[in-house]
Assembly symmetry: C2
Homo-oligomer: 184 residues x 2
């Protein structure tokens, strides 16, 4: 049996991303937009999936046991919602996410979270390549500036724009929170 | 038994990417650099893996039966080399690539090809998340300009830079062809 309802999948909305070590971020509205999406999904009783990164990297603020492993306020799973814990970027590797989605008949995923270019992009790419219909909520994602290969720097807004462009070209429908609140 | 030799994995070096529909590209040297890598691997007798995209998208120049499905000159597999055909971006989805690598004891992958942001990035991400040690050859990859979500445009060089920065931050060691020719 297929479930016609899109599942909301929130990637790594954890307090560890507030640590200074990540550098300059774009889109401070991502958390607020994510909470509006969650509130809507919870009101409708649609499937909600919260993904948590349990980093195995020594010293990572996202490591289990570190305070930064915790979900940001409002993003912890409620009763009946799925908690998926992962150790790598893709929420589909080393987890039972794919099997659970297939078993539940869920074919549509609405994805947002942290960070646009790393765990969000990797999860969206795999979801799409595995045959799920993916919608990415652009203004509920954010990322951090990075060093480039040639020793320069790419700021978070440009990095976000480039990665969303690629996801839009090949892997996902891309919309804003306002539009996602009208999905049915 | 583990094979200490790094396998060279070339992604989608197909003539269909010469079609005008893809738009403006960066790094015209990618093919020449890729051929130097292949020549080196072949001389050493190290494992070589050629990945071909058999697009299922109607009208795609990469579709089987279309002339653009063919490998660019020099990139077709020789006797003993692996041909991996895929229908999605990741060379690990819908293929036996992971099983073949495990069976052969290959743990190190040196990756290049087309396009940086799409099939190369998706394959590098999955390889890394599956536990393979990945080296990306920056100057043997290329991509095409894209439209952005806000209706703007990101040129191929900037797109390439942003995507390589993310892969370098989290998924792969990134080096140039000259350095890869010294690997042992």
């Amino acid at each position: 049996m297929s479930d016609p309802r899109p599942a909301l999948l929130a990637v790594d909305m954890q307090t560890g991303f507030d640590a200074p070590r990540w550098g300059a971020r774009n889109n401070p509205a991502a958390e607020g937009n994510g909470l509006r999406l969650l509130e809507r999904w919870r009101k409708l009783g649609w499937p909600v999936i919260l993904v948590r990164h349990d980093s195995t990297e020594p010293g990572s603020p996202l490591a289990p046991g570190s305070p930064g492993n915790a979900f940001k306020p409002g993003f912890a799973p409620l009763a009946g919602e799925w908690l998926i814990t992962k150790r790598v970027n893709s929420a589909f590797i080393g987890t039972d996410l794919e099997q659970r989605l297939r078993r539940a008949g869920i074919t549509r995923l609405v994805v947002f979270g942290l960070t646009t270019d790393q765990c969000v992009s990797t999860t969206v790419r795999m979801a799409s390549n595995l045959g799920f219909a993916v919608t990415l909520i652009e203004d509920a994602c954010a990322c951090f500036a990075l060093r480039t290969f040639s020793g320069g720097h790419v700021d978070a807004a440009r990095l976000h724009t480039a990665h969303v462009a690629t996801l839009m070209a090949e892997f996902a429908e891309v919309i804003r929170t306002e539009q996602a609140l009208l999905l049915n």
